[in-house]
Symmetry: C2
Subunit: 414 residues, 2 copies
């Protein structure tokens, strides 16, 4: 993979010009794109900017995010083919102001839902890269680009990152503004970043937001880590179960205080409430597409919308009330531990391209609005990566990143 922090260091030291960094990235894309298919389109006019701190850093933008210079097709050319937004989304402007180069638009499942793209897993082309941020995860995990934007409503950042062996962060809700990003559920949709490692995420997120407190600081000494297995979501496959054990043991050996936590019952209720919140809002957010372009909505999404037409306002209000109670309960949990450690996905990437995998170990944390980091952990059968998920309290993005770096270091030393 291409390390953003390493590129920054070499550019700052004068070892590499920003233009050369962009040219190298283009070569890396050229070498793998035909196989992986991570891009909807590349920006032929892309050149390095001179602005710090991200000059020379090429970034891929998930194609549900508005760009003023490139079409934005929402993963659904049947409805949005050639659609050209007027303005850059705020997150794209933030990247540009930080000096990043928009290198292209990455593939997305239609409307960031479930219908797979043709993108393959860069580690084994017979497997899905996950979704919905398929191209962003595959491009970073496949060593094509140092930084990419994704979005998560269920598990669309953390899961594909785990499948593709990339680090990723879904920050606290609204840390990154989602104006100009196609809406599926306004309570859930959250922008996220993919990069090679946790330090790369920290440098990227700090640069985009202008928040120095997110930069990697001194290494944590003894974080208090709570292991959660999310039993309400069912059992994981062997690969993810093993990965969590490996990561927990490595963290303990590295000095963390590690214990298994049972989450309050209301949090399991919130896990179930996620789907109600998501699809009640999706029926409003996607009303134009669903009501006026029904036949053009791809089949998996259309079926999920068909199946959820009858969620009442009362059921939605109840799901929201459960959400608020669960968030308060989770805030109490974070008085006892610094971070939680859990599965990033049920297992390694599923075989084939018929499914992008299952968000059941991610959806709760999206609803809770908390920062989540995928740390690549092991390589399972077939060369497929599996990650673990580090989770902190709302607003504690710096702590989530610091603890994720602790786990990453611990895994590297095991």
């Amino acid at each position: 993979m291409i390390s953003l922090a390493d590129l920054q260091r070499r550019i700052d030291a004068g070892e590499l010009s920003p233009d050369a960094a962009i040219a190298q990235t283009r070569e890396a894309i050229g070498a793998r794109e035909k196989t992986v298919g991570a891009f909807v389109r590349q920006n032929e006019n892309a050149s390095a900017a001179s602005a710090d701190p991200l000059r020379g850093i090429a970034v891929g933008i998930k194609d549900i995010i508005d760009t003023a210079d490139l079409p934005t097709e929402m993963g659904c050319a049947a409805i949005y083919g050639g659609w050209q937004p007027r303005a850059d989304a705020p997150i794209v402007m933030m990247l540009k102001q930080a000096g990043a180069t928009i290198i292209g638009k990455t593939t997305t499942t239609a409307f960031a839902a479930n219908d797979p793209t043709p993108t393959v897993n860069p580690h084994n082309t017979g497997y899905t890269p996950g979704g919905s941020s398929s191209g962003s995860a595959a491009a970073v995990g496949g060593g094509m680009i140092p930084l990419a934007l994704g979005t998560q409503t269920g598990g669309s950042v953390i899961r594909p990152a785990s499948f593709c062996g990339a680090a990723a962060i879904k920050p606290s809700f609204n840390l990154l503004p989602k104006t100009g990003v196609k809406c599926f559920s306004w309570t859930l949709d959250t922008l996220g970043l993919f990069a090679a490692g946790v330090s790369d995420l920290a440098h990227g997120l700090s640069a985009i937001t202008g928040r120095p407190e997110l930069l990697p600081g001194a290494a944590l000494q003894a974080p208090r880590i709570g292991i959660v297995t999310q039993d309400f979501a069912g059992a994981p496959e062997a690969a993810s179960g093993e990965t969590l054990q490996v990561a927990a043991k490595a963290a303990e050996r590295a000095g963390a205080s590690v214990r298994t936590l049972a989450l309050p019952e209301i949090i399991g209720e919130a896990w179930r409430a996620h789907n109600i919140v998501q699809f009640f809002e999706a029926h409003l957010a996607m009303a134009w597409e669903y009501r006026t372009k029904y036949d053009l909505v791809p089949p998996l999404l259309r079926k999920r919308l068909d199946d959820t037409r009858d969620i009442t306002p009362a059921a939605y209000d109840n799901a929201c009330a459960i959400t608020y109670r669960a968030r308060a309960a989770l805030a109490e949990v974070f008085k006892e531990v610094d971070v939680l450690l859990t599965f990033s996905a049920p297992g390694a990437a599923p075989k084939g391209l018929d499914s992008t995998g299952d968000a059941r170990f991610n959806q709760l944390w999206t609803l809770m609005a908390v920062p989540c980091v995928n740390v690549p952990a092991i390589i399972a059968e077939g060369g497929l990566p599996v990650g673990v998920q580090v989770i902190a309290g709302v607003g504690d993005d710096a702590k989530a990143l610091a603890a994720a770096r602790f786990v990453e270091d611990a895994l590297a030393r095991r």
Copy 2:
């Protein structure tokens, strides 16, 4: 004014066809539009739908709200002239699904900020209709249409409603989805409705959201009303001071329990925090316009953005923390009273078209995410209306409407 509830009743009774209702509305627009200038463009193809419950109801859409069949120019033709969105915003789809007829796009200050439109006050053409929802307030208050959509980030629904003599509701945050609505501040922007009276608002909001609990129910007997004068926002002009007294006395005579409340200090802090939240987010939300089209951003908005360039993430985080504490404190206040009663604006509409007025008595409540209703109350000098503002706790939109109806009835009987 044209009463939505009255039109509904006559259509349901077969006294009026939906087509005839639309034709009557067209005539009302034709009679006044040349003077008032409430519309950016009218929908020449508009016809009545057959769907309940809003068949025959013509609605005006503020021109920062995406419409698939009509351009959406954001009140800034210099940047968005002729801009045609692909999709209807969810709120437009909700109106259509409820049977309403989109009759046209109403004027808005550029990006719903402060640069006035040419729209005049329908009660006295030498005065502003207020803003930013200028056309929606003027069209409803001027008796041209029975229903209109606005948005409020500071005071852009309640204030122009007060100036134009229309009833209006800014519902609880996110009750109406703002996807497809031009963003200024994602924490603050809230969709709202204008109609002739409080019952009309209730029928409209219930129809749009599919929530029968918002329909007018049995009259309230003895609501507990807290009078707040928002001293942190400065003194009102004589007209608004008098209006609040008149409304409080009328409510008391009608059986309400009325007392003056001092709000906790944190709430005054939140009033000051509003501007920080608003402009930190506006610099992100409007980054493309401000950074790439600077010379085309109209002058009042441009100056406000120039003046607020240096708000730091730390100042913003602090403003958000104050907001959360103030919301919790306000929730405690609503254990003591059913609703608050306060000024809708500093006074009657200011003279001339240089300013749309001041949002200082509205901004706190937008930040607090609570439902606010403007009830037209008195006619001041120059024939200019002045309203009062009824406010309930978050999610208590039905209570806000019921109490506003109580105040409206009390004022009618005085």
